[in-house]
Symmetry: C2
Subunit: 236 residues, 2 copies
Amino acid sequence: MQVDVISNVNEARSDDFIQKTVIVIDVLRATSTIVTALAHGCSAIVPAETVNQAIQLQQEGDLLGGERFCKKIAGFHYGNSPAEYSTPAIAGKRIILTTTNGTRAIQKSQRAGRLLSGSLLNAEACAKAAFSQKRDVVIVCAGTQDEFCLEDGLCAGLLIVYLMEYGGDKVEANDLGMAMRHAYEAVRDRIEDTLLSCSSGRRLSKIGHRDDILHCSQLNRYDLVPVWRDQSMMRF
Amino acid sequence: MQVDVISNVNEARSDDFIQKTVIVIDVLRATSTIVTALAHGCSAIVPAETVNQAIQLQQEGDLLGGERFCKKIAGFHYGNSPAEYSTPAIAGKRIILTTTNGTRAIQKSQRAGRLLSGSLLNAEACAKAAFSQKRDVVIVCAGTQDEFCLEDGLCAGLLIVYLMEYGGDKVEANDLGMAMRHAYEAVRDRIEDTLLSCSSGRRLSKIGHRDDILHCSQLNRYDLVPVWRDQSMMRF
């Protein structure tokens, strides 16, 4: 099983995803928000690329969520804080979500044989689901502003730790994957501090979202894997 | 002092290098070869983008070196093995060098305020020279076939370890730089094994260049920094 890590959404070439399992990661915060929302009973997350597209996709009963420049979009029900989705108010609802990097990475990965979304919150469940597919895996780090970001890389490294635990020698990672595995191993005992000090973490802390970082730093809080079905992310 | 790591030559934007110190890294093997050749008395290394350009640049007394597909170019004096340049035969000579990734990365970085080349063989000397310039630093990992490669990333991580040792809190790295620093820290006691098992290392071993990898894995063997001057790399 070959496992390739892609450093940011701009590097993703959808032709390379056919027949493969693709895992999209945007730890701060889109994929952490998606898993948190599904854990609180939302029925599906529909990614939208633009604010207008989100509004067009909205049907009766749907909720709108998302951010631009890390802030909630005017008129939307929710922003992109996982905490906002930790509420029974979303149970049974569809959420149309538009974010700067994460939802774009999901949309770019739709040609995958199987499309999952991962975060530190569900890393083990996600790696297990990916391994059970018995196909090559591409881990797409969404990144920030078309650049690599540390928190997505560390999550990719953790997924590789699990995949290698399950598959032993049969699992081979590309060089970026190996670098991320090593990087994860070096900071595994200080994930929260590392996320607080990386560039996205500093930016989010500055505008009052420190609690989001603490939430998103939790390892394997949810035993749940969002999977792409009917143009949306649902429980596996 | 801001230190940005760029994952491969394809990602390098020369406009971003103006006024900065740029360190080009191609551990396997171009920048390891360059420092080894200068340590053995060669007067200058002139990078050439193509085989034809190398031949055109050759003046009387110059030697031709380089590779395509990891192999010596027909009619050239030397390939891209540092071992070939560990000879008094090159003393006082100019070498015109063309390689697939490393020399291209050097040519793309000529707009730098100061252009250095780094490898594991001269990491400490290179970091010291870069720090003494008191400018922001860009570390360009040459990569392989326009993709990130582990050995260049680890060398970037080691340079950042030194720069942070010299500059303390005043040195800030981008997220890729932080990831590489962590990755280097995780494998610092097994650099040789890591280089033997990364993708370039496996490819070179397969075609009989295992000794090159062992040579290039040595930390700080040379107290020497190649610097760009008169369209060539010379001793600092």
